[in-house]
Symmetry: C2
Subunit: 673 residues, 2 copies
Amino acid sequence: MRRSPATLTASTAPTHAAGPVGGTLPAARTRPLPAGAVRLSATGHLGAWQERNAAATIPHCLDALETSGALDNLRRVLDPADPEHHDGPYRGFNFADSDVHKTLEAVAWESARAGEPRHEDAVRRVVDLLRRAQAPSGYLGSHVLGSRDPSDAAPSGRPYGDLRWGHELYVLGHLVQAGVARARATGEDDLLDLAMGWADDVVARLADGEELVCGHPEVETALVELYRETGDPAYLDAARRMVDLRGHRRLGAGPFEPVYHQDATPVLEAEEVAGHAVRQLYLLAGVTDLYLESGERALLDTAVRLWDDAHGRRTYVTGGMGSRHKDESFGDPYELPPDRAYAESCAGVASVLWDWRMLLATGESRYADSLEHALHNVVAAASSTDGTAFFYSNPLQVRDGHDGADEYQASGRRAWFACACCPPNLARLVASLHTMVATLDADGALAVHLFADADLAVPGSAVRLKLRTGYPWDGDVLLTADAPSPVPLALRLPGWADAARTRLEVDGEPVDVASALDRRGYLRVAAGARRVRLVLPLEPRVLRAHPRVDAVRGCVALARGPVVHCVEQVDHPGVVLDDVELDLAAGVTVGPADDALGVGATLRAVGRARPAAGRALYSDVPDDVPEISPDVVHVAVRAVPYAVWGNRAEGPMRVWIPVSAPPRPGDRRRSGR
Amino acid sequence: MRRSPATLTASTAPTHAAGPVGGTLPAARTRPLPAGAVRLSATGHLGAWQERNAAATIPHCLDALETSGALDNLRRVLDPADPEHHDGPYRGFNFADSDVHKTLEAVAWESARAGEPRHEDAVRRVVDLLRRAQAPSGYLGSHVLGSRDPSDAAPSGRPYGDLRWGHELYVLGHLVQAGVARARATGEDDLLDLAMGWADDVVARLADGEELVCGHPEVETALVELYRETGDPAYLDAARRMVDLRGHRRLGAGPFEPVYHQDATPVLEAEEVAGHAVRQLYLLAGVTDLYLESGERALLDTAVRLWDDAHGRRTYVTGGMGSRHKDESFGDPYELPPDRAYAESCAGVASVLWDWRMLLATGESRYADSLEHALHNVVAAASSTDGTAFFYSNPLQVRDGHDGADEYQASGRRAWFACACCPPNLARLVASLHTMVATLDADGALAVHLFADADLAVPGSAVRLKLRTGYPWDGDVLLTADAPSPVPLALRLPGWADAARTRLEVDGEPVDVASALDRRGYLRVAAGARRVRLVLPLEPRVLRAHPRVDAVRGCVALARGPVVHCVEQVDHPGVVLDDVELDLAAGVTVGPADDALGVGATLRAVGRARPAAGRALYSDVPDDVPEISPDVVHVAVRAVPYAVWGNRAEGPMRVWIPVSAPPRPGDRRRSGR
């Protein structure tokens, strides 16, 4: 196996951070904290999620690598004399190796979080299997290596024969990320070495003029991480080259058009997000990674332009992205149907990964807002409350009579999928959540982005901070230091929080919020503080969509803080949920916690239901039935966080609820608890 | 080639009708008129459509059979020594032969309409080509016959090796229909003989116990037609057997679930339409055909049950069916998004074919209503006004910024498609429209279903009727006889027509409409009448959808008679159509004809537009902008028949228009012209 010279320096390369997006990040406005600087406590919402991920989701994924055949696919490649050789057919999609790599990455971040290697025996066995499966060239895609007859999709033994659909560089990307994560987390270079063996071959091919660009972006962000880990600029250059190669229709068109692969328009010229949502989001994460290293303005401009398009015109109120089942794609502007929302779980993960990089690049709170929003809604909803069942797509509405047999529009979460990209993707994200709690600004301030029970070390000092809050159920956030903070502090003021109703106290003294607010959206507290208290307004909010979101006209969504709610049939016996309308004039109030669902608050409202099952599909307006009729029933509406829907029973659900009369300006809809 | 004994009697078999659905139809409540009994005049709307079909669409389809490669696919099968042998690769989908057969069927019905063979040289050349391509067994699918290497989708030379996706019996079905049409129209049995050669092989295989059921239903209805044409009950039994075989998951699951092929539930046990819409509709046409022959109640019960489901919960206001691009399928109940409406043109055609059979089975006006409605809206819209460009899918909304690059969601009509099922399907339907104008009821009355300029012969008499009307632009319908009608007459009262505002005169005397209305929805006129005048109320109608059609909440659709309208960007300069709301209080009036579009009336209304492009995607209700603001502009709204949208310019369009305040009961929305 060829080795890059950089391998020799891998363990001594600058590793600033202990999570994804390492290195010194020359162009960053704010940077991740060093290894071990943040620990989430299981007493808080995010910390408990990480614990569940460690205790349930990661072991579940490890088991599934066996049962799904993902490891057997690698064993097929082994020498027939190898006792572990497997003789069955290849199973799953041609990128099933990535399930293995993402699970290894999740284990690595979990090891970093735990401060000690986790599942180390299992990991070593898999790494050993990968080593034996790897071709002398470094190539390590089991679908191609194990191809045995011409009817296989991949031409036998010919790597990169199908760049459009082969997913080979996508698989390499995940292998690289797993290798980097394991090296950062445990200091073990074994997996990183394997990944570099393959990556070096790709780098060499690019240098020889091969136009390697993958139908599924992912390797771009991974190669930048590999650069950060090794210091070898060849990886950075390769990622940059791949971005330049894309968008010129080199991939051709197969079952999908070039736009599906973001190959219809040069990357830096795109005006809109388009095509397959996960591909688009991974690509933009890579573009932002490249900016963080180079400071090249065109990269950031593109990222900001497309972020604005995605978030201004094509994002569900749950943070979900990718409106269409067809091609798993972004749709037209404002095409956001709640029932047919695809909103793939992986797109939620990818959106968070991109937001994180945008936050590092700019230090602006809106990216942290978006990250937190996606996390608490679409990403959280993708897993069951026990952490072992998952949604592939995340609709905002399920109708009475829904046919949920298809796993991509399932009525309930499933343990695994034919295309199992989502579960290990969720696992690797959640295992690294703690790295996103706070960063160090370029001007030296410690910026707090996520409110959670966490312990933090101020970089370059012995001072320890304690962050304590019942958030997102409670708006009271307390940050205490065991000595006067040697650095300024910056606390995010979420975009949904009305500054006039937010309170800030520093060492017991009230501080004017408007004055403390900087232009990046953070409340600044000068160095020397020991106790900062932020009280965020968590009154229920009633949301409406832009008028061009036709699919939810006449409806509202209920939210509280970052948590979007939904109504479920199981909470509304005696009526069909589809018939329920909300009476906004009656107000929305905070309801009790639900321990079984693991939520600290619910919402209550008043509605009515008029059974509509027998009505004509279309009718003349004057012939409409009276709006008040004897069969209208009063409904006590209970809304639960969207994150926990579908954990009790299958059945109708909706985020956007029709209102019995449309809200008019001047109406006061908000209600205190 | 094996020949069925029935072939010998083909030309002497009972051929009651000159169009689709021939034979004596023992269980029918009303029956098609004999050959030559109806002729549409080009002075009327439907007759002009048939003329355009003959002059433009059919020649266009014939040309496309060459340019698309459909004929070359058959030439590939010829002996290499045959001068016409073609050596190139197979082109198109594996059912491209059916484009040939549907075009031949269209030419046949057009020949029947014209009273003389049309394009006879071209047809004979194709029939000759088919004869040479046919295998000794009778099999005549060029995709399988031309399969040359193992990488081809079809196992080389092995018919019925892929019942799920092979489309072989689907292709047979269209060949049979073409053969039957040609025999009925011209008396030529050449094509029928070829078709029977293949059909006999299938019948024999079924008799041998082979469980032949096709992933794409179509052959069922075709085999019943073949029975009607030949009198051989083996074809009827084969069709019945195929219905029984379906629904037991024999087809397995491939890229699609069993429900896609209507193979998840036994056909006669289904409670809902489901899966691929065209497949479902063709299957139900076949089920209804079987009822028409056997009178077996379970068949009709199933057809009625599923018709009610389809039309009560899953049909667009344009008559379009099949809500989802994904799998081209019916969706959940009330899942009817206007923007993502798939509403495939072929589903519109299939819906008309099924309605026609339901009408024959029951004599009930609601089936004729539906047939007419689909015809004037989704089916008409599928073709350009010049008859040479087509929509594959028929959305009810196109947004500003729509990406219409994909041919299945095109911004404009296209000359042909990779999957070219729709254009020749439209051609064969339009060429046979005249056969649906009137039927003879079991009780002897002549029932008029479609209002058009037409000349009719009363069966069994020398009396001729003239039907004259400017319908659908004008509600005045005049039926005159050259002698007292020897039979009672029955005129359809459309479901949208208020009986209280409809006028009926018989021989100059007003008749009470309510008294004349029979329980099947027809106005009965006793034998002996010479002049019947029906005046239908054509005031604009404002339609709203069932409240569970979430996608169009707060919107209305404008209709007049059977014609649904839409608004187009091209008629609304200075505003973005997406921002327009309708002010219903200002009324809707009839606007002038548009000769360029070929429509006799348009609609006018008043609206307003508030530019919304810069607004936040989601906002708190209290923070909403005022409803009346300085940037609101008054808009003179012009609505044109949906049938002619997209003929002037590409751009935004919508059928469902938001209203500035929701209609309330008691509001008087209708406006006279």
